[in-house]
Symmetry: C2
Subunit: 193 residues, 2 copies
DNA sequence: CCCTATCGACACGGCACGTGCCGTATTGAC
DNA sequence: GTCAATACGGCACGTGCCGTGTCGATAGGG
């Protein structure tokens, strides 16, 4: 998405993304407009349109630029503890300001704009999924996780409940809540085991 | 939301909602405008604004009117089979046209508009949750489900994975996929049991 | 040092918003 | 059956933002 080759160019790009983030935090993504971003950044509208084709993709770039390193996985050897630590981190990031409300808005935008949905998947969800699967695969080979467990489902099963709470019921997600969900998942629902 | 007391009033209300649904299916929710709905319904804009305060809430009413009875639970005595049947129904409804794309748009709108989020919860999610908890509570008392299982989490744990697939990865959700998720949930992830 | 791509500023037509106003049609109270 | 109140369709308005076009200024690479 970023075009700027020259030093001035990348500086402008960064300025625009920062302006977009600032405005989104202050007034909410719903009220974000390209014109307002341009004014805030002290930039012509063309300079924005030259870099991003839509408000949604500008916003996605802006938001991801806030957490470049991504959510990395610890590997202490204890997969359960690692998983718990990682989900706690994810929930802390995605569930609280400044990311929380902005991330919710981004997912909302993805429901209206296929380009945003695709980019969100490729740039954020997929890498996250890959890391998770890699970590669990290692654990599976060490026998810490049932061999029969379908790792392709793991993101949906592990992250789904958190996304449900974030996007649908919109209840705050505490570490305790995460722990209870994990316990439910690992214990299973069936009686006697 | 509906004000119309007189016969003419309720007829207008229905006409407007049908126009909104038709337009949303044809052009997508993103391109839906109050003006277009008014024109399609052969109605003045005031007549819409008198009934609904926002596009989102009009759309929510319209969509819910498509499935008034809601998703009811079977009770055959076998909770696992019932659960499976119910989730299959839910996935068939929420994951396919005409509901599927419209429901995704509604959830997207809920991320931008707190009023829509609240109404979606109260009018659709909450009733669904209550039915699910009631059914599982009965099963729990019959020992078909572990006594320790936290029923307050049940919607997040059971529905979360489907919502993740619907809203985030946007992959189609087959019955087979549902079954694999349920199997993963009931079997748990931990080895040996 | 000049050439060219990029820039900020401004203006434009277009669309949809939400709100008035008007004259008409329907409704409910009496 | 009459009549006042209400709801209605149609129209127009001012506003905000869209995405594009056109300037002259600017700045960085060859």
């Amino acid at each position: 998405m970023t075009i700027g080759h020259s030093e001035r160019g990348v500086a402008r790009t960064r300025t625009i993304m920062q302006a977009a983030l600032a405005l989104a935090q202050e007034a909410g993504y719903a009220k974000l407009s390209i014109e307002a971003v341009a004014a805030r950044a002290g930039v012509g509208k063309h300079t924005i349109y030259r870099r991003w084709p839509s408000k949604g993709l500008l916003f996605l770039d802006s938001l991801l630029s806030l957490n470049e390193p991504g959510l990395d996985y610890p590997d202490t050897g204890d997969v359960l503890a690692d998983l718990r630590r990682q989900i706690h981190s994810a929930v802390d990031l995605l569930g609280n300001p400044p990311w929380g409300p902005l991330y919710r808005a981004l997912v909302g935008e993805a429901q209206h704009d296929p380009a945003v949905a695709a980019a969100l998947n490729e740039r954020f969800i997929r890498p996250q999924t890959d890391k998770t699967i890699a970590r669990l695969k290692a654990a599976q080979e060490q026998g810490q996780i049932s061999r029969g467990f379908d790792l392709d489902l793991v993101m949906a099963v592990l992250s789904g409940p958190m996304y449900f709470s974030l996007l649908i019921t919109q209840e705050p997600i505490s570490h305790d809540y995460v722990d209870r969900v994990l316990e439910a998942l690992f214990a299973g629902m069936s009686p006697r085991h």
